[in-house]
Amino acid sequence: MSSIQDRVIEIIAEQAVLEPSDISLDSTLEELGIDSLGLVESIFAIEEAFDISVPFNANEPEKSDFDISSVRSIIAGIERLIAEQA
């Protein structure tokens, strides 16, 4: 499972223009300076990397069945989606 985590952190780091080592699991996207466009772009990159579909509507992020409150929650969500969509 750690490879999924590494890959997601890589994608988020690239979006935030940071080194992967600068990203902690407890970071929020806001802390990393990722805005709404950056978020949509990250989700696209994640979908492409893992060949999954992430249910996310920018109009109702809190209602989407995908928790973006921290890097940790994003990774957990992706692990779950990969398991479900495998």
């Binding site: 805005d35 709404s36 466009l37 949509v40 989700i43 696209f44 579909s53 996310f56 509507n57 920018a58 109009n59 109702e60 209602k63």
Partner: protein, 403 residues
């Protein structure tokens, strides 16, 4: 400066194939949004839109015309025939030489692009129809309109995404207002409802899968539409001399740029455009009875727009009516301001306010009178039409009841 009035209106959109049908649908609060129907729709996750239905191009245009007219050009000509027919103008001599066409459009011939990409990329063919370029170019509709009606004055297309039509109509207003020409034909047209068009929008994750519910707390995004609306803007004296019927007066406009973000709207940019239009039109804010909102049904637009209106109007914000007819005809992108101007004309001339349908739950961040779900009768002196585009480009028009 010349006073500018509207003496002709025409449209085709998801609510109707002409102005009377469209206004009737708006009065009844009917929804024109439904399941999309075009090739590969099953590969889309967004499958609803305000598509023009029951439309047969062959009944309207001959084979040679259809080889040159993308759907957005077809819609333009249908709307223009109605508008110019209502105005009762014939364009010859001096009038033809001075009258021009300014249209709003964002995507150009998106269906033509889509079909021909399919031909070369998917089917692997190495040859496309010779008219692909003249068919897809953004100015094709304005050019064909000028050719059909012999309009030889200033003619061009304005492309500012969702504000295209308002920018275009503001330009046309300015030309008549300034005395450059006694008549201008203006409005907008759009047809992006094809696989590639909707797929591109899907990527942004701002589209609703079920409905456009502007200002409602449970809104979840925008819905795309298609169609056109065309108007004849005319110098009041010119219109009076020939005894033309006057639908409404255009009294001013303003345009601003947020200069801040490519997609997120700004309250300041919107407020400056609204306040600017009032100033340009020399109307007091208390005179404004109706605003046709940009009201896309996205989380970001609706709350920002309501905050801008509250800022500009102060206590009067609670007295005016503000509705989003996108809930019915969906978002026509480059044509949206043109179709929405019809709702302003209905408010001013007929005293009927088109409702915001699909309204289910009040949102404290949009706590204005949005005329939920059912049309309302009201006498309105001044109406505004808002358009706030991606790219942070805003254009607001002000209209007055012509009595």
């Amino acid at each position: 400066m010349k006073r500018v009035v509207i003496t002709g209106a025409g449209t085709i959109n998801a609510l109707g194939a002409d102005v009377p049908a469209t206004l009737e649908a708006m009065r009844e609060g009917r929804c024109g949004i439904g399941e999309l129907d075009f090739p590969d729709v099953d590969r889309l996750s967004i499958r609803i839109g305000g598509q023009v239905r029951g439309y047969d191009p062959v009944a309207r245009f001959n084979r040679q015309q259809l080889a040159l007219y993308d759907r957005f050009t077809q819609f333009t000509l249908i709307a223009a025939r109605e508008a110019i027919g209502q105005a009762g103008l014939e364009f010859n001599g001096e009038l033809a030489a001075r009258t021009g066409v300014i249209l709003g459009n964002s995507g150009g011939g998106m269906t033509t692009l889509d079909e021909n990409y399919r031909t070369v990329y998917e089917e692997g063919k190495n040859r496309v129809h010779p008219f692909v370029v003249p068919k897809l170019m953004n100015n094709a509709a304005a050019s064909h309109l000028s050719m059909e009606f012999n309009l030889k004055g200033p003619t061009f297309t304005v492309s500012t995404a969702c504000a295209s039509s308002n920018h275009a109509m503001a330009q046309a207003f300015q030309m008549v207002h300034g005395g450059l020409t006694p008549v201008m034909v203006t409005g907008g047209s759009e047809s992006m409802l094809c696989f590639g068009g909707v797929k591109a929008w899907e990527g942004l994750r701002v589209m609703s899968r079920d409905a456009c519910r502007p200002f409602s707390a449970n809104r979840n995004g925008m819905v795309q539409g298609e169609g056109a609306a065309i108007f004849v803007f005319e110098d009041l004296e010119h219109a009076r001399k020939r005894g033309a019927e006057i639908l409404a007066e255009v009294v001013g406009f303003a345009m601003t740029s947020d200069a801040s973000d490519i997609v997120m709207p700004s309250k300041q940019g919107a407020a400056r455009a609204i306040a600017g239009a009032l100033r340009d039109a020399r109307v007091n804010r208390e005179e404004v009875g109706y605003i046709n909102a940009h009201g896309t049904g996205t989380a970001a637009n609706d709350k920002t727009e309501c905050a801008a209106v509250a800022d500009v109007f102060g206590a009067h914000a609670d007295k005016l009516m503000i509705t989003s007819t996108k809930s019915m005809h969906a978002h026509l992108i480059g044509a949206t301001g043109a179709v929405e101007l019809l709702a302003c004309i209905m408010a001013l001339r007929d005293g009927v306010i088109a409702p915001t349908i699909g309204y289910e739950e009040p949102d404290p961040e949009c706590a204005l009178d949005v005329v939920p779900n059912e049309a309302r009768e009201a006498k309105v002196e001044v109406a505004l039409s808002n358009a706030f585009a991606f790219g942070g480009l805003n254009a607001v028009l002000a209209l007055r009841r012509f009595a």
